[in-house]
Symmetry: none
Amino acid sequence: MIRVLVVDDHVLIRKGIVLLLENYIDIEVVGEASDGAEAITQAISLNPDVILMDVSIPNGLDGFTATQEIHKQMPNVKIIMLTMHNEVAYIQKAIAVEAHGYILKNSQGGILYEAIHAVYSGRIYYNVGIPQEQMDKLFEHKGHEDQCILTVREQEIMRLTVLGYTNIQIAGQLYISSKTVENHKSNIMQKLNLSNKAELIQYGLANNYM
Amino acid sequence: MIRVLVVDDHVLIRKGIVLLLENYIDIEVVGEASDGAEAITQAISLNPDVILMDVSIPNGLDGFTATQEIHKQMPNVKIIMLTMHNEVAYIQKAIAVEAHGYILKNSQGGILYEAIHAVYSGRIYYNVGIPQEQMDKLFEHKGHEDQCILTVREQEIMRLTVLGYTNIQIAGQLYISSKTVENHKSNIMQKLNLSNKAELIQYGLANNYM
DNA sequence: AAGCTAATAGTGGAAAACCCCTATATGTCT
DNA sequence: AGACATATAGGGGTTTTCCACTATTAGCTT
């Protein structure tokens, strides 16, 4: 019997997942939590085998941070990140906090079951919509890329880009050349493994560069 | 027996909702759809009593637009918007497209059941986290909505623009020409008296077009 | 029937962004 | 001293936006 804790702030979704898991006789949902803090206390008191952790839970403590914290306190618990985003930045973060699994909310129910069994057996299970070779790279870069932090200048560029300013406008505000702005942008994209402007913007929005 | 169609792009969530509804003997889930276009075809072929419609479904045709379209073709079908956002802008949109219900994904399961019964009986059921008086105002302003001067299409363009997509990407998502996207953008700028893209983006961000 | 709005699509030229490079100055760490 | 990171800037070519127009169709309203 695999004992599972389900963490998601949306009651409907949480209940749905719980019902889904009830179909499997070898899985038992032992608890639910709706935010990061609750996830941590529940993890400690229930000592589950596997935690299904939504990424975007509210109240400051997001799924990644909660995962890090739980890892520290209970190194044997396996954690699967559950998210709607299959963007590289999110996957990278999941790898950084050493989540054992990562699956999308638009996976089939069976995937969820597979993932739980995989991480329970000590395997890594990332079911994402990007090619395997790119995944390999992400895992390789894990060690020497502690947090993939942008420099102060890059953060400024990110912020102004999210706000819709053109390279020339940004250059004007920072008293530099628009070519330099271009370079910063492409450095940012490389660092974060983003492949186009939309991903850059959406990363910026998701990370409050506004 | 109330016949329900469930529309959500995330399989896990959709299956969860279906399982949740299976607990009620007077409700039957007759179909599922994962995007706006599918929702419309399913609605026509299945003729459900109630549609549970996620707001943020992909492929251009969002839940609001799909709702409008279904209203046109099948005026007797009741539609409940299902969303994670309790922001006024979304509620306003729901009222504008005359959705019969609006509930948050972090409602209890019972709320879902209540909402389905309410709209099936011809009532309006908005379960949102804002005070009643503000809701009343929103409903009052429905007719003479001087506030939201953007058309539904323009709102879509605005949203995708804020998210950083290029004209060509937006065109691809909405199955129109990039020239049309350009025109919508310039119409938006004229309507809102904005003079460049940065102002457009910042207006969009401030008004939750994300 | 005439007028209006929304949505669609086009032309053509100027401006800007994007992409792949190279390059320099200035730090800091080992 | 050498390696590395950061911030700066440019060349040159391709793609995309931006802008100011025109135009057509469908669906309303008066």
